[in-house]
Symmetry: D3
Subunit: 295 residues, 6 copies
């Protein structure tokens, strides 16, 4: 169950209207790595969790906070749009190139569809998609996904920080940056804790029997490009991070054992794929049979 309180975690008020920045801010509200993504991602991971206790509590605890971040961003966007030129005739687009540029750079659906309100879309107006979220049931994989989401998110907020000098916006962004710092740290700590407690390990999923994978290539770096420097990394020789092998390095063309491509398939002729002309007795017989089947 969720409860709402009509307060914000942090002040979310711009110094001045800015329709173009409102559009940019949509990225961290409704984009691939925006707040809607993390809010729903953490909650779905919690709902799909198989362990009660601290890990699920953590997911719920941050998940609900992120819903509040969605709210702070939507609130900010509505305020940025409140008095900004939005393309109505009074905005004098024709006469003032600066106004024209604003109108050109804003999200026109902010005006036409939402009447100067926030939307569940990214900075290019793509609607938020359920395919953005990850909740696999495997916590080590999912906490890595979460760490990545917080890294991409903090990166985007950092970029946005340099796209404005409005103090009100920067204040909000500085708060979001700090929370992303926190959450990056938390997912890394939680991933480490899973390993320390023996619940999961690398490679994920760690309890799939290793003998069932084709071990000869489990630690072999086969380089399918011609960049020789790829052999210089710690990923090409030495012990592997999962502690179970040694990296080796081979160059693909010429050295890799390969197998011939299987022959083309010949599905039922009633799919009307293009195939060889029947040129032997057997094939003609088959074609006749197919034809009879089709009658």
């Amino acid at each position: 169950m969720f409860f709402h309180r009509q307060e914000l975690q942090f002040k979310s008020t711009p110094d001045k209207p800015d329709a173009v920045f409102a559009r940019k801010l949509q990225e961290v509200l409704g984009g691939q790595y925006g707040e809607i993504t993390v809010a729903l991602q953490y909650n779905f991971q919690a709902w799909n969790a198989h362990i009660p206790g601290k890990y699920r509590d953590l997911l719920f605890g941050i998940g609900a906070e992120e819903m509040g971040h969605v709210e702070m961003l939507a609130t900010m966007i509505a305020q940025l749009l409140e008095k900004a030129p939005l393309g109505i005739t009074g905005d004098a687009v024709q006469d003032d190139p600066t106004v024209a540029a604003v109108v050109g750079g804003m999200d026109v659906q902010h005006a036409i569809v939402a009447g100067a309100g926030a939307r569940a879309v990214d900075s290019n107006g793509n609607p938020w998609s359920g395919s953005y979220i990850t909740a696999s049931g495997n916590m080590l994989a999912d906490f890595t996904a979460n760490a990545n989401a917080e890294m991409q998110g903090r990166l985007q907020v950092a970029r946005l920080y340099h796209m404005t000098d409005d103090h009100g916006i920067r204040d909000l962004l500085s708060f979001l940056l700090a929370r992303d710092t926190m959450h990056q740290n938390q997912w890394m700590a939680a991933a480490a804790e899973l390993r320390a407690e023996g619940l999961e390990d690398f490679p994920v999923p760690s309890n799939f029997p290793l003998k069932k994978e084709h071990r000869p290539v489990s630690y072999e770096y086969i380089n399918f490009s011609d960049g020789a420097a790829a052999a210089e990394g710690t990923w090409a020789s030495g012990p592997t991070p999962d502690g179970k092998g040694e990296f080796t390095y081979v160059e693909a063309p010429g050295t890799t054992k390969t197998v011939p491509t299987p022959p083309p398939t010949h599905p039922d002729s009633r799919f009307y794929g293009t195939t060889e002309l029947p040129n032997t007795v057997e094939k003609i017989a088959g074609a006749v049979q197919d034809k009879l089947n089709k009658e």
Copy 2:
């Protein structure tokens, strides 16, 4: 530049046809974490890279291999569909419930659209989307995304392994599992190397000045749910993984400092949003002015 050779990295031939498994296998070909995703993700990261040398070489080297995995899966899928019942009348769906079940469980577009061929979709027929890939320019964030992709991918392949006892399919899956093991290890090694070389660190992006973020909440776990066990984790007290702070823990309701929600916005009346009735002289004057503007 890419070159193609008509060989496969590994044998990709099933023991027998299986249209339902062909559909399931689409997940790791054209799904969110399928081979198309990693093939294009690593290449886009390489094309957007800002450093020549080993990291970019690594991206190119694995990226091209993944294109070959797309090919192995497509080849396998076409063979699984070759002789399987695909719903044509000769398949006797009406009479044999087992055949009916097969036809019910397959991807009907395999038959109708592709004529018993593979498609660029996931196991529910959702087309592959460019929004699945991540290429931000920041390598620590992106290598974490890559590690996650290989974890989710290996997890899905492991699940698929238990959904068939066809030896041909299992052979291919055991090969993919091994390569996912390798690639998980490589991205973890590469992420560690970035940090060891001082190129990036946590929190990502590490060269954003920390003083510009709102530090008082950078390491504070504010629990917005009521699961008390959340306080037991290493994410709630002790040193943070980024080595720059100490975790603290607070419960959200009551203890968090908050601010009032800003008042609702009042954009231009020509957006026809619903607002208060003008009930003072000023408001009426404003409304009249708006009305005049609209004439």
Copy 3:
């Protein structure tokens, strides 16, 4: 701000596992008119509201409840999947047609992607989309959208009710049906209240000056099909619901005043659209000029 409590509004536990029903239930979780839609729709309307007070409070009050409904459905789905056959080899799909049918009818991504967990998708596996929600800033339009969403939602839940005889599921559905009854009533009451208070009226938006619309066709039913019974409804004669006119009825072919289609456009030749051959001096001159421009 949102807070989460680890309780549910109502019991959400099935009598027995049922993977096929779990898939169907996704419709009211992640479909066009599912709970994610209404949860985010009401919140976005609140964030975009221009009036403080009861209307916005109502939006926030129901919006947070709907988030809890998302949770109840996700919880139910995870339980329905917990022990159900999900296509792993132990499920004996090959031997038992009933199991095969279950596996055929389930959402395969429930198993492959979510490991027996709920997902942010509809019953066909389409990811939830931000384009499902409506938040225009105009409350009479939006409350009508909300009433519709609750009607479509209750209709789908009613249909689902007849697709199972599991008492646990039916209990949850009976709760959701009751809440949809409540919310239909609330949005209708709120729409009526907006009109009673003079804040909005029909046609929406009511404060757009009617004299600016082309009034001669504002109440004329022009029938573009040949179904004569269309003239029998209260929409074809008598007073209009907005209280501002009288319906009239005309049949389209022959009686409607029309205008000729404008001539085709001739954009810049450098778009290489297909157009007439230049056959007069002027046209040739123009073409030569265009050609020169292109050099």
Copy 4:
């Protein structure tokens, strides 16, 4: 069957080219509530209708008109683009900031993809989606959806009206405004007629037995936010619009009867979800059995 006549319902010619407005106009052509939506929505409702006669005739009659509105908008857009600067070098983007602003604000696919033609997309270039339409078979629900569509549509047209002072465009918009007025009235009249004739009523679907829903919460407003004014509306006390109950009001936190969240699920271990370590004899035995199954 549909027939086309090369005429328009109303003059659709702008005074002057305007590529930026052409882009904005795409919203009411190919957006969520654009003319493609209503044209197909009304036709699908007619094709799915279960009653012959006036209601279906009404759907067909308006559905075909809306196809003509799609045409009028496409025609207008092509003309707006005909002579407008579309980013070709002759447009002198570099030298004239106003031209640059136009090119910045237009839909670049209008030029690159359509060669100065209209497209089946919204004002942000999102392709029209079949998920925009609603056709449930229940006419009271669907007519409410239709009323909403006409309200949102008229609202967007009204906003567009204020974004130009081109008389030709405004003429077309004034025509569309009037037709939206008509159609809002018609769907409201038709919804009322369904109720008057006893075919449907609130709550939708009205013939689902009310005793099967959990009646104790059918008229109870549980406020999950802390906005006290929500209790002031007619939706919180007094008779309900469906005439079948009395609204009551409760505040959620503390007063709502709730149930504990069910324990986490434990699906088959071959999905490799993260779960507790086996720490009792029974669990270990189960794990061993699972392991054996996997061999």
Copy 5:
């Protein structure tokens, strides 16, 4: 303008209900190459046409017919669903594996969302998308797109023909096959006529000055795979279909002239991309400057 008549071009009534086939039929209604696609594609091409007369008349003439095909398919689908088992409890899914298979193979949204009605989706439930259509303004390109659409469409209908032995369905399909035959022929005739009249030619667009393309590779087949048989086709030697050159053949690896990949980019440091450590005086100076800028 469009007019509707409540008649069908051809009988569209099945012998018996079949929910699984109803789902399959959605492909040619709402799929990539379904009737909605061609109906809107031809109309958009007509609206974007630059020549009055026969070509545009042809587009309008077929476009309106295709709208009628949408109607015939929707009508057929509703009838196929009318009495079919749709998963309600009376359907005895549990007891009868055949019924279970039907329910497994149907589109569950047909029941839950549309109440046994047709939908604007393909056979996997993906909503129809505006991105399916092509209307570029260049008629030779677009008529080729149209020919392709009719080929893919006829191919799919032919496959569907073999997936049923219901005479009513087959009758409708035999009609659609014939119309697709007609339309394939028409678009091929129209493409030939464009060339005969000198309006367009190959390569499209034919009036782009050939000297502006890099002619040395205009007719050179560079084989980037190792299939030697590719050299045997008429596409590898001899005159080219556009009548303007001679095909030549080279094998890519080793023989193609190539250029080095440009060095990686170094965008502004405030995007926080990962880059080399500054290791020279100039770089350090630059970094300092960047840092100052960021303050």
Copy 6:
């Protein structure tokens, strides 16, 4: 298997940065007819091919080249973005309208999401979709799709050519134009060769028995619009391109034989569609029975 070499087929370096053009160039990288589309389309056609040898070799040979074109465009885009104003505060958007116009016209996700890198999207930021590709198994249909893709692609490149006078960009475009010329010719040659060898013919699929289609309308042009010039084309009289008939022409309204629309359907009442009131004994009995079933 695919191999990558760190070279480009052709020089891909602009004279100067241009963020707006970088966005436009995304169309031919990640749009409906961009290089990702053709690269994957040709490869999927090869993987789904049913004939070994020259046709499949051709598909592989061009497919791998197109992957290299994706790379050239991504490389170009990253360079165009390298030093361009991307909306960071140092870009002085406020003061310089030209800079503002650039920032307005660019893809903001280039900066926020990709940190000045290329993305898998089109020029409006829509992510690339697997639904763009066609691989049906029928080579005559698919080669026609390929010819169309190369025509649309060359048309878009030609338009882009006129949108810049940067010599570096134009050089790359002139190379792509030439390759599109080549590939148009190749697919036309390959389609002709399929026919010459008797493998496929018109109408596609040519081996579907013509007697099973409804031949009376196979060559009849039924004009559903009122453009009389449609009768003047070679598509309205004379021999058909498939060599199997004669075109005839009829005008639709009045002359076409039609059938009445079937009566509306009446599915199970538990779908709660709106239907007639029961007004006869039989109907009431049925309703009672339905009601009992529902208990």
